[in-house]
């Protein structure tokens, strides 16, 4: 089986305030339906790696292949093949939940007839017309998960999805996220400190000193 996401020899060096090599030739392969957790201490470059995998940031060297090819139109890749979930939710606060969830479809000019179904799946159907700023933290993250699935992407990239939530809500979010990915056959790359969450994934990597090591 071919990997759906492949990173080869990714190097990332930050020069400010001093030269720091965050990623020193990292390689990673993610297969369809596979759930991958990347763990590591704070400042080890987990989010940087995730952003590079999600084309939000350019590596200094190395290349990222999504669905078997490197892309020049990064906007299309982000819109059609990737779904992002952030620690701080990153919803458009002045818009309603429904508008937030359907935003990727509107950007990609694709139909969003299943948006209400997605909201139902994450338990926010009743909140569809609420402004996002009025939601609780857990609700916001569930809305963000629904948004990530809106354009039916192949890969979901999640950066500390439960970092801002309490234990109870975190567990619910983990269950929802992993369950949705498994159910829909999506690949999931998740960056987390939470070892419990990491253990729930098919593969766990440890990012340390710029190198990625498979730990389970």
């Amino acid at each position: 089986m071919k990997p759906i996401l492949s990173a080869k020899n990714i190097v990332k060096i930050f020069h400010t305030p001093r030269k720091v090599e965050v990623l020193a030739g990292v390689s990673l392969e993610v297969f369809p339906g596979q759930t991958v957790a990347i763990t590591g201490k704070s400042g080890e470059g987990k989010s940087t790696l995730l952003h590079i995998l999600g084309t939000l940031e350019q590596p200094c060297s190395g290349e990222v292949e999504i669905c078997g090819q490197t892309w020049s139109d990064l906007c299309l890749v982000r819109n059609q093949y990737l779904g992002f979930i952030f620690q701080t939710f990153n919803l458009l606060e002045d818009y309603t939940v429904f508008e937030n969830v359907t935003m990727p479809a509107k950007i990609g000019r694709t139909p969003y007839t299943h948006a209400l179904h997605l909201l139902e799946e994450v338990g926010l159907k009743e909140r569809a017309n609420f402004p996002a700023k009025l939601l609780s933290g857990g609700e916001k993250q569930r809305a963000a998960i629904a948004r990530a699935f809106c354009n039916d992407p192949q890969i979901i990239l999640a950066d500390e999805p439960s970092g801002n939530l309490d234990h109870h809500h975190s567990a619910a979010i983990h269950e929802l996220l992993l369950g949705s990915c498994k159910k829909q056959g999506k690949a999931l790359v998740i960056v987390t400190h939470d070892l419990e969450l990491a253990a729930m994934c098919d593969t766990t990597y440890l990012l340390k000193d710029g190198s990625l090591t498979c730990v389970s």
Binding site: L56, L76, N79, L92, M103
Partner: protein
Amino acid sequence: MALIASMSVGVIALVVWLVVVFLSVTEGIERSWLEKLTALNAPLKITPTRAYFSSYYYLVDTISERSGYSYKSIGEKSVAPLTDPHDPEIDATPPSHWPEPSGVDPVKAAFAILQQEKGVVAQDFEISAAMLRLNLQKTQTFLTQVSYIASFADQSPYVHSLVLEGSELGGDGIFLAKSFQDHGVKVGDTGYLAYQAATPSSVQEQRIFVKVAGFYDAGVMSVGNKIVLAPSSIVHTISTASQLEHFDKTQSSGIQVWFPQAQEAGKVKARLQAAFEKAGISPYWKIATYHEYDFAKDLLQQFQSDKYLFTLIGVIILIVACCNIISLLMILVNDKKKEIGILQAMGTSSRSIALIFGGCGVAIGFASSLIGVVAAILTLHNLDSLVHALSFLQGHDAFNAAFYGKSLPNTLSHNALLFVFIATPVISLLAGVAPALKASRLRPSEILRSE
């Protein structure tokens, strides 16, 4: 943010309002001046050159029995039955230094060309001088003034805009400048025009009885107030009988030419010049548009310069006002960084982000223009009330009626509208370029990481 946006829109709208009101009023004043100028003097004049007065066809009348051995005016030449009245059997032989007859009479040829021009009305004119003496019925006094006597252009299509209300058109009376009304002259007052006529033994004063038929508006050209408009027969009688030797003969007679659009004087002039060249009569005539009249040239040029200067100042103020848009949009970009990052993560292109902010600039510019234009329309609609209020505050007329008319023109200028609706969005768009570029160059990774 809303306050800053409102202030930006307000400042631009204020400038737009000022530009539209000023340009509309100045355009109206210019139009009114031109209407009066071209009604009195025609938008185009064809005057004879020195070459005409040395031409065979001008000189030949003085040795021809059929012409009464006297010079003929342009009007007389145009209707003369013979192009060349000289009869070698009766008349003296033309002096050897006279030019040979070319077969083309410059006057008849010029009128033939003018008749072929579509929509053109032409009439010859003469200017002379005489002493006007009027018996004023109202005050039972006499008014005496040395005046220029010019042919009344009764064929002018603008004659109705020239004469004032109450004037009697169609008769053989004279028309005086409206300033005569201030001295008590009324329609129906009678008097005479006196001039010196040479007889074989002496010079005697001759008088022609005249009646005031009405008044005309001389406009802003001060020379207009010195002119008495009289039927061409009277002017011609005085011209020929008084044997008046003009300092410059080339200015004392000619052809006035009217056409529907006075602004097209340049084009008509070019066409006539080409036709005159072709007919071989161009050396005998000087064609001048109203822009070239000696008495109007400086004023019109100065007025144009003032208008251009103000338009330039308007553009500069508009640019300064539109700079507000740069500040506003820069603040907006900083304020909406997170949203920009989110949209980029969801697949929005940098081009779309730039278009959003560039579009904001244009929208602000367009909205400001709209508000400014609406305010300008309201101002123009109530211009008289504003002028009255201003006059009341000043204690005297805010705008001199001699220059600006009884009331300021209040017609919205289409040129001003065009200028505002093109210049403002374009300047706003340019003002939106820098913020749009800044927004499009934001890196989603940095924004979302810092959030």
